[in-house]
C-alpha cells in the first residue's frame, strides 16, 4: 500500500526525523490560513500517488497567503495522470544548500533490507543509478542484527557527508530505519533530504510503501488507504477474497490460481484477443464466489465474452460446474461464456454444462481460440 507524502512525513516525524513545518489541506482557504501561520511564503504540493508531480505542475511556490490560496485552488482542481488532487500539503519554504537521497527497501536478491544513499538527491534515484552509478552507495542490513552504528558511519562516509552534519544524519537514518521496521514498510524513502543554508538536515519529501501482507499488524493504516488508485471493481473483489485487476481488453477471464490466470491472459493475447481483466478466484470455487466473480467481470461494459478456465486439483470440476450454473441463474447475462474444465471430475463437470448456453473446450488453446473468435464478432 502506497502512502502519500504527508502521511509518510507524519510517520517519520514520529521517529524523530525532522520535516518542514506545514499541514495538509482539502480546501484553498485552509491553504491561505496555513500560509499565514507559516509567515507567508510556502510551497503547495499536490498529494497524489504518482511520480512526476512537479513536472505536471502539481507543486508550486507561493510568495504570500493570497497567492497560496490562488495556487491551492488551481492545484485542487487538477488531475495528475488520471488521479484527482483531493489534498494538498502546504509546507514552509527552506533554503537549500545540498540535496541527498536516502532510502531503505527490501532487496529481493540478497533477501535483506538495503540502505541506498546518494549525494545526488532530489531527482529520481533510478535516473541517478543509470547516469552516474558511482554516486550511489548501497549497504545491506542483517535482518537478525539490525542497523549497526558502524554501518551508519559507513553510509555518511560513502556519500562524502561533511562531518559537521554526521550527528544529525545518524539520528535521521536511525529514525528512518525504525520507521521502516515498525510500519513493515517495503520502502521508506527521503528524497530529497536537504542540508539547509542554516545547516540543518530536513526531510523535504518522503515516500513510504507498506507491505500488504503486514497490514494485519497495522489496522490503523487502513484509514490511510487512498481508494482513488484502485478501480471500484478491484475494491469490490477484495470483499469476496478474489484477486481482480482491471485491464483494457474485452475478454473477461475467470481462473483458479494466479499463475494460471496470467497464463490464460497470455494465451488470449497470443491469439490476437485482449483480456479485460486478471481474476484469480482462488481455491474452492463455490457458487457464491463464482457469482461474485461473474458480476465483477460483467461490471466492465467492454466485456464481450467470458473465458472460464479451471484446473480441478483439490477443487472438483463438477462442483465448479454446479457453482457456475447457479451463478448464471443468479446473474443473468447475454454475454457468451466459454468454459474449460480440466483435472479432477472434469468430464462430470462438462456434462453438467452440456445443455446450457455455454461453450465448452477441452484444452486451453481451444478455449482461447473460441473466446477470441466470439470477441471479434465471429461465430463460435
Amino acid at each position: 500500500m502506497k502512502l502519500h507524502e504527508y502521511q509518510s512525513k507524519k510517520i517519520i516525524d514520529r521517529f524523530d526525523v525532522p520535516i518542514p513545518k506545514g499541514r495538509v489541506a482539502n480546501i484553498a482557504s485552509e491553504a491561505k490560513q496555513i500560509a499565514e501561520e507559516l509567515g507567508g511564503r510556502v510551497v503547495i504540493k499536490s498529494q497524489v500517488l504518482v511520480g512526476g508531480r512537479g513536472k505536471a505542475g502539481g507543486i508550486k511556490l507561493a510568495r504570500d497567503p493570497n497567492q497560496a490560496k490562488e495556487l491551492a485552488t488551481e492545484i485542487l482542481g487538477m488531475e495528475i495522470k488520471g488521479l484527482p488532487v483531493r489534498k494538498i500539503l502546504v509546507d514552509e519554504i527552506v533554503e537549500i544548500d545540498q540535496e541527498i537521497y536516502l532510502g531503505i527497501t527490501n532487496d529481493r536478491t540478497c533477501r535483506q533490507p538495503i540502505v541506498i544513499a546518494s549525494s545526488s538527491g532530489g531527482i529520481d534515484i533510478e535516473e541517478v543509478a543509470q547516469i552516474s552509478p558511482e554516486k550511489i552507495f548501497k549497504l545491506t542490513i542483517d535482518p537478525l542484527l539490525g542497523l549497526q552504528d558502524f554501518q551508519v558511519r559507513d553510509i555518511a562516509l560513502g556519500i562524502d557527508l561533511r562531518r559537521e552534519y554526521w550527528k544529525q544524519f545518524i539520528k535521521i537514518l536511525r529514525g528512518l530505519y525504525r520507521a521502516y521496521l515498525e510500519t513493515d514498510a517495503t520502502l521508506a524513502e527521503i528524497n530529497p533530504l536537504v542540508v539547509t543554508k542554516n545547516k540543518r538536515l530536513i526531510a523535504l519529501d518522503a515516500k513510504m510503501i507498506i507491505d500488504d501482507n503486514a497490514l494485519f499488524r497495522h489496522p490503523e493504516m487502513m484509514e490511510l488507504r487512498d481508494l482513488d488508485v484502485e478501480a471500484p471493481a478491484e475494491i469490490e473483489a477484495q470483499k469476496y477474497g478474489l484477486s481482480y485487476i482491471k485491464l483494457d481488453g474485452d475478454i473477461g477471464c475467470m481462473v483458479n490460481g494466479a499463475g494460471l490466470a496470467m497464463a490464460t491472459m497470455d494465451i488470449i493475447s497470443q491469439f490476437g484477443g485482449k483480456p479485460s481483466n486478471f481474476l484469480d478466484i482462488g481455491g474452492g470455487a463455490g457458487a457464491t464466489k463464482v457469482a461474485a466473480a461473474l458480476r465483477i467481470i460483467l461490471s466492465d461494459p467492454n466485456v464481450k465474452v467470458i473465458l472460464i478456465n479451471i484446473f480441478g486439483g483439490i477443487t472438483r470440476c463438477d462442483e465448479v460446474a454446479k457453482g457456475l450454473l447457479s451463478a448464471l441463474a443468479d446473474v443473468k447475462t447475454k454475454v457468451p461464456v466459454v468454459v474449460r474444465l480440466v483435472g479432477t471430475n472434469a468430464e462430470e463437470g462438462l456434462e453438467l454444462l452440456v445443455n446450457e448456453k455455454i461453450q465448452t473446450a477441452n484444452t486451453l488453446v481451444e478455449a482461447a481460440k473460441i473466446a477470441v473468435r466470439l470477441s471479434t464478432g465471429g461465430a463460435a
Partner: protein
C-alpha cells in the same frame, strides 16, 4: 531417484488439527502413508487419522518421538514465521511452508535463521512438492502426475498442475515436482533445485515455470549456461501483465520496468532453454 523427498521421508504436519492442515495431511497420508506426526500446540496427546498419527505440542517433542525429518506448515500467516523458526530450531532438515500472506520483514529474518541452522526451506506461499508414488508434501494433487524422469520447478500452483496433467496425458512422468512459491522472499531457489536435478541420476530433463517479478529466472539462465548439461524447457507467465500491478502473488509485479516476462524469456532463450508459448506446449516439447 528423486530430490528432497522420497519413500523414506518421515513427514510431520504443523497445524494438523486445523481445517486446511487436516484435509491435506489426510491426502498426504493416503498417498504414501509416510505422515508420522502432527503438531498443534495445546493438543499434544491426541491422535488423528483413525488413531494412527500422534499429535504433539511441539516440533522438538514430535521429532524425538517419531524421527520426523520433513515438516510441512499449514498454519495461518501470523503464526507461520514462528512455526518455521520452531521447525528449524528442532533441527528439521526440510521445512515446507504452504501458508500465504507472510510479511516480507518476517521472511527476511526467518530465511536468515534457517540458513544459519542448516534447514532447507520451500515456500512460503507454495503448493509444496511431490515425488510421485513416494511422497507428497503439501497440496499438489496426487492423481495428476506419475513417476518419470522430468524434474519440475515452479513459482505457482494450478499452473504447475496444468503442466503436470498435460505431461501425464502424454505419458510423461516426473522425478520430483517442486513449487517454490510466489513470494518475493522464499527458500530454495531455481538455482538450488537446478543443481539438485542436475546431479539426480533419474532426472533427464527439467521444466522451469516462471512468472513476472524479480530476477530469479535471469539468475537461473546464468546458472544454466554455466553448469547444466540436462535440457531445460521453460514457460514464463505474465507476458500480457501491466507494470506496477501485483498479479495475485505477492512477488508477481513488474517494478520500475524490471521483472518483465520478455526479459526473462530472452535471458533463458539466449542460453538454449526451449520456451513454450503456453503451458500445454511444455508437454509437447518434452515429448519430442
Amino acid at each position: 531417484m528423486s530430490i528432497l523427498v522420497n519413500k523414506y521421508s518421515r513427514i510431520l504436519v504443523q497445524g494438523i488439527t486445523g481445517n486446511e492442515g487436516n484435509f491435506h495431511a489426510w491426502q498426504m497420508y493416503q498417498y504414501a502413508n509416510n505422515v508420522v506426526a502432527g503438531v498443534t500446540p495445546g493438543k499434544g496427546g491426541e491422535w488423528v487419522f483413525e488413531g494412527k498419527v500422534p499429535v504433539f505440542d511441539s516440533v522438538k517433542v514430535a521429532k524425538e518421538a517419531t524421527g520426523a525429518n520433513v515438516s510441512v506448515i499449514f498454519v495461518p500467516a501470523h503464526f507461520a514465521s514462528d512455526a518455521m523458526l520452531e521447525a528449524a530450531d528442532a533441527g528439521m532438515e526440510l521445512i515446507v511452508c504452504i501458508t500465504e500472506g507472510i510479511p516480507v520483514r518476517d521472511m527476511m529474518r526467518v530465511r536468515k535463521y534457517l540458513d544459519q541452522k542448516g534447514s532447507k526451506l520451500i515456500g512460503p506461499n507454495c503448493p509444496g512438492l511431490i515425488t510421485p508414488s513416494e511422497a507428497k508434501v503439501g497440496i499438489i494433487p496426487g492423481n495428476i502426475t506419475m513417476p518419470g524422469n522430468v524434474g519440475v520447478i515452479s513459482r505457482s500452483g494450478t499452473l504447475t498442475y496444468e503442466v503436470l496433467y498435460a505431461m501425464m496425458l502424454l505419458g510423461i512422468g516426473t522425478s520430483t515436482c517442486v513449487g517454490i512459491g510466489g513470494d518475493p522472499i522464499s527458500g530454495l531457489s531455481y538455482i538450488d533445485l537446478l543443481e539438485m536435478f542436475e546431479i539426480d541420476p533419474l532426472t533427464d530433463q527439467i521444466v522451469l515455470i516462471g512468472e513476472i517479478g524479480g530476477t530469479d529466472e535471469q539468475q537461473a539462465a546464468d546458472y544454466i549456461s554455466r553448469y547444466m548439461t540436462k535440457p531445460v524447457v521453460a514457460f514464463i507467465a505474465g507476458q500480457s501483465a501491466p507494470p506496477g500491478k501485483r498479479m495475485g502473488h505477492a512477488g508477481a509485479i513488474i517494478e520500475s520496468g524490471s521483472g518483465t516476462a520478455e526479459e526473462k524469456i530472452k535471458a533463458l532463450q539466449e542460453v538454449g532453454v526451449q520456451i513454450a508459448r503456453h503451458p500445454e506446449e511444455i508437454a509437447i516439447i518434452l515429448n519430442r
